[in-house]
């Protein structure tokens, strides 16, 4: 474990040393790019084929049920995070969703709460920290998990730690469920990732900026204060050439 930290520290240091015109939000770009390429190779070899297979084997209807089941588990801590952010009504709604979906919705596989007008929210510990005014810190690409920041990565560790699925036992049930959950998640993102592939000239930059913009929007629940055009993603001085 200590060796991993050492490796990270060395990579981080080398990251700081190079790239004179790095984006100020991404001082570790060389390390991040290396991890991005690693994730990409892993995804191409394993993630995408498995997700495509999963999608080919299971009918959309069944995949929706599976997504709903995990989404219902997620609502527990979405509620906690809403409360932590002082959004009490939203938090209570999230728990009402869990109550209805876990019972009438048969362990969450039917999202009856949405049909009743209780809309799904989207919160996590990273957003809560952001809501409290903690800055994102440097951009980070996490191994296997993808785009994050120092703040959001810390939040993510808490998200995993607190996840209700940790309470499931025995591990013979829990571990396969985690695998299904991850594959299901990757399958949900297949369309988005093929769009990214199309739209971007440099996928690393495109994904990084999209991630940072999206997190900002999430922290402000979809209506961030308007930035002046120059302030949005403006890189260091332009080279006239």
């Amino acid at each position: 474990m200590r060796r991993v930290f050492l490796l990270l520290a060395v990579l981080a240091a080398s990251g700081c040393a190079t790239s004179p015109d790095a984006d100020p939000r991404d001082p570790l770009e060389p390390m991040n790019r290396a991890l991005f390429n690693f994730n990409d190779a892993f995804d191409e070899a394993i993630g995408t084929p498995v997700a495509k297979g999963y999608r080919a084997v299971l009918h959309q209807e069944i995949r929706t049920r599976i997504s709903n089941f995990f989404s219902n588990l997620g609502d527990v801590f979405i509620g906690v995070n809403n409360i932590l952010q002082g959004k009490f009504q939203d938090g209570v709604e999230d728990w009402a969703r869990v109550a209805f979906n876990s019972t009438i919705g048969l362990a969450g596989i039917h999202d009856v709460a949405s049909e009743m007008g209780l809309e799904k929210h989207d919160e996590d510990f990273g957003q809560t920290f952001g809501h409290w005014g903690i800055g994102s810190g440097p951009y980070l690409v996490l191994p296997f998990l993808g785009p994050s920041t120092l703040r959001d990565g810390t939040g993510l560790a808490l998200d995993f730690y607190a996840d209700p699925m940790n309470e499931f036992s025995p591990s013979e049930v829990r571990d396969p469920l985690w695998v299904v959950r991850l594959i299901n998640r990757r399958a949900d993102l297949l369309d988005a990732s093929s769009l990214l592939e199309q739209a971007a000239l440099d996928r690393y930059i495109f994904l990084r900026d999209a991630y940072l913009q999206r997190r900002r929007s999430q922290i402000y629940d979809g209506s961030p204060p308007r930035q002046r055009d120059e302030e949005v993603n403006e890189p260091p001085p332009p080279a006239v050439k």
């Binding site: 015109d21 984006d23 929706t64 997504s67 709903n68 989404s71 999202d111 949405s114 809309e119 799904k120 929210h121 989207d122 949900d188 369309d191 093929s194 769009l195 199309q198 739209a199 971007a200 000239l201 440099d202 930059i205 495109f206 900026d209 999209a210 913009q213 999206r214 900002r216 929007s217 999430q218 979809g222 961030p224 055009d229 120059e230 949005v232 993603n233 403006e234 890189p235 332009p238 080279a239 006239v240 050439k241």
Partner: protein, 212 residues
């Protein structure tokens, strides 16, 4: 003489009236009308649904493009570099950026056309000339995805100059990317990158081997 004159005046009034009527379609109504029309065309067209990308792009060209202001999208995405670009470079930039956006838009439509849309009421004063029209894509079991169209009033009607999907502005997202490329290979380098990208996408969509 007077007859012709009267007819001329009448005709010009009619023409003005028609132009005026088109111009005054409010932005939110315009977005709804165009979205529903395109979704409807896709739903009824077997060839498009079975993956005829060229035909889908044709539909977008005819129905959607007239409502986008690509020159302003390109200039916003270029930021300060726009000012140093020559008129010829600007023309090529707008052309190649438009082609890329249309292709991406076509893929997004093909992937999401079966979802339901929720058109939000416009929150703006009648005198506003720069508004955001909000649409939400409803997906079963997931938080709706917001799509915000930034629109500006022009003499030829309301035009879209940016699209935000899930809080991500397309224009802002391309800005860093464009600036990075310009910094290393100049504006001509960026034009070349865009053109190469478009050619690759065209070749790929022409090859039926790439199944969706």
């Amino acid at each position: 003489m007077t007859m012709t004159k009267t007819l001329c005046i009448l005709a010009s009034f009619l023409w003005l009236g028609a132009a005026h009527a088109q111009e005054t379609i409010p932005p939110d109504a315009l977005v709804k009308q165009v979205t529903l029309e395109v979704i409807d065309i896709i739903a009824k067209d077997k060839e498009i649904r079975s993956g005829d990308r060229a035909k889908l792009i044709g539909v977008i060209d005819a129905k959607v493009l007239p409502h986008f202001d690509f020159a302003s999208m390109t200039s916003l995405a270029m930021g300060q570099n726009w000012r140093v670009a020559t008129p010829e470079q600007k023309k090529l930039l707008v052309e190649s950026f438009r082609t890329l956006l249309v292709r991406t838009y076509a893929s997004a439509l093909a992937a999401y056309s079966e979802q339901k849309f929720d058109f939000r009421p416009l929150r703006a004063k009648p005198t506003d000339t720069d508004v955001t029209v909000q649409v939400r894509v409803l997906q079963p079991g997931q938080q709706p995805v917001p799509i915000d169209y930034s629109m500006e009033k022009t003499p030829s009607g309301w035009k879209v100059y940016d699209v935000m999907v899930g809080g991500v502005s397309l224009v802002a997202n391309y800005r860093t990317e464009f600036a990075t490329v310009v910094r290393s290979t100049g504006i001509d380098g960026l034009i070349k990158d865009l053109q190469t990208k478009n050619k690759t996408l065209e070749r790929r969509s022409a090859a039926p081997a790439d199944k969706k």
